[in-house]
Symmetry: D3
Subunit: 161 residues, 6 copies
């Protein structure tokens, strides 16, 4: 059985992330969506909130589960017996950063492969950062995130965050 | 009458910005230079200071005015009845970020077009960030910013900011 | 009255080109689609065929016309009293090439501005080159080109070109 | 059983290609190395020669086979019941071209996924084009290609090709 | 005698930096490794610590010395009578940022040239930022930094920094 | 004595090339401008013509000479006892191609370093290809090439080439 890891901050999960998860599910036997703690990035949602948002959004997808990690990605991947890490690529700027990370991860554990996939073309402009900015300014994000994420963003910004 | 919006942080306005403003003025009936509040970026100058620096620097240009906004850019553009948003492109790294924003803005309001223009080639290396760094280290920025901006930078850094 | 030039090889016109033409028409008073002779590129269609394909595809658009040119673009633009040249940008690789051309055109005639626009996101993958390759291999290009272009491609490749 | 296609011109196969083939083999049940006819590119080796060079170089790899195709890649992939096309990415310039192709292939057949993999970092500078140039100028390509390819290049250039 | 400056934050020095230093030493008579104070970046190591880490790591290299600076790079270079600034390039994203800086430095002092060099290809994925992240998460950085830097990282993170 | 090689097609030499030559001369004891035969590129000028155009344009520069080569660049550099190859970088697209070549050259001969330099910013848009296109269409290239090159282009295109 081939397990792949789909790591990220997911602060919060977008429809672009969901699209990649579904594509990865077609190519493997199990997808583990891995929420990085990333406290240095000062996320809008806590790791528990982000994990819960992912879990609710993927619960209809068989062979997909979510987990969080605060260690090296390759150590987490090895613990989960994953053969590969999946990353979505939207643009050239993504690509270079991802390339550096993937090369480093290969140095740290050469048994973990990295594979890159493309989200749906109408999602190439999506990023968690832009979504948060739009929600903060009162824009409508219905098209861009799952419904539970839309509600969580509304609650977060209603509190004056 | 065709109005275009030229949005940015303008922290502070540079000669590269002024160059784009003048080019945009040749192609439209009115240019609104729109200063984004952007408090999360911790600007060196307050939005009022930035707006004032822009107003002084453009006062000799007919059909150009300045305003500030703290809402979604497309909402501001619609309120001003603009047909397009103008953005300057200097380099590939600009391009990708601008592309993502423009695609998202089109999703949010498909009536607002984004057009990209090139500043004068001798200004391609200019950015507000580099200007602030040079001024902070006591370098001469006379060639790179309007005179009122040069003086404002001198005052800001003289205060030990 | 502001005239803009939209130059290209148009070998052949795609729906991505048509999309940019319609966007440019919203921002100007007249759009001249300018078919470059480009004999060195060994086009699939002759300049007369390419011009005819464009003319048929734009005939429903007011304030849009087509012409061909075999001189310097800035000279053609000046002859047509254009204020700007419009170019579509789909990707980073486009951007650099277009940037170089635009800077050179500015050196040759500083009165002609270049403005860049984005086609619809679902057209970012479109190029005349890819369309010709698909048509040559018998793929269906209905979604990607106007109907008259689809028929012209079918005739061209049926002849064993 | 999951089959993936690894398409290319392979004019000729390099160690970078072989490296991607081996990585793809770890993630799937069968890899089909698919040699594109590509007559318009005027390849150095005929499609039969390129296919033979690949077959010899992969014969020690289980679950890997080679084939050639002269139709649309997605049609070939469907005929082979593949779930995905694998492409190696070495650099930003690769990335954009590959992205365009992958988006177009998805339009033509949405059931065929494209996944991108990275060759070993010491192979990022390798390309069939550079290898042919070095061989043509009498340089030593032992490190860069399988032994049968090295011999084929030597024979080709000895004939004064 | 030709002196060149190799400036950076060196927070901390990596084997990639050391590789560029040795290459620069082959092309000049003296290399000054110049540690930028950069307090705004909130470095992990103080400027004194970073300078000490560099000095220990380069002590076996003739004609190489280390210094720190908190003024404009071109002013520091002029004070040291340098003919050029050396910068390592690993990737496209480096390139654009470095290009902007180099053009600006040329405006500030046209006598100081900037030259770009490539580190060893197996170091292209290395960055001080990634090294700190790996060390913070308990990963092994032996291959990526000089031994004194490895120990300093271990001490820093043992303190719970 | 440190010799550096500045290789290229120089079809024909531009002011951007001359600018890099002069910058390289400040950093080394001798610059050898090396004209590549490159017959596969179907140059406009023969290698003898290109060499002659370079020689005339550099004759006022001390410590700069021109030569041609038709072997591997690293072999030519070794024969001339050069420590480094100099390449001008204008843009991201240059960068990636140059990077690949430089890495390959390092594999072929690790004693030959590659250093990258930037031409004057007003020359970043210059390329031999664009110059030839402008000259072919009757545009004025006085600003972009040395006078002897301008005359040679005029003669070439007057003959109806």
């Amino acid at each position: 059985m081939r397990t792949v890891i789909y790591p990220g901050s997911f602060d919060p999960l977008t429809n672009g992330h969901l699209d990649v998860i579904q594509r990865a599910a077609k190519l493997s036997d199990q997808v583990v969506v891995a929420v990085a703690t990333n406290e240095s990035k000062k996320p809008l949602f806590t790791v528990e909130e982000r994990l819960e948002l992912v879990r609710t959004a993927i619960k209809h997808l068989p062979h997909v589960e979510a987990d969080s990690f605060d260690n090296l990605l390759v150590d987490f991947a090895a613990k989960r017996s994953a053969v590969a890490v999946v990353r979505g690529l939207r643009a050239v700027s993504d690509f270079e950063f991802e390339f550096q990370l993937a090369l480093m991860n290969r140095k740290l554990n050469e048994n973990i492969e990295t594979i890159f996939m493309m989200p749906k073309d109408t999602y190439t402009f999506l990023s968690s950062r832009i979504i948060k900015e739009i929600a903060r300014l009162g824009g409508d994000v219905t098209e861009f995130v799952p419904d539970n994420v839309r509600l969580a963003l509304a609650r977060k910004f209603a509190k004056g965050n």
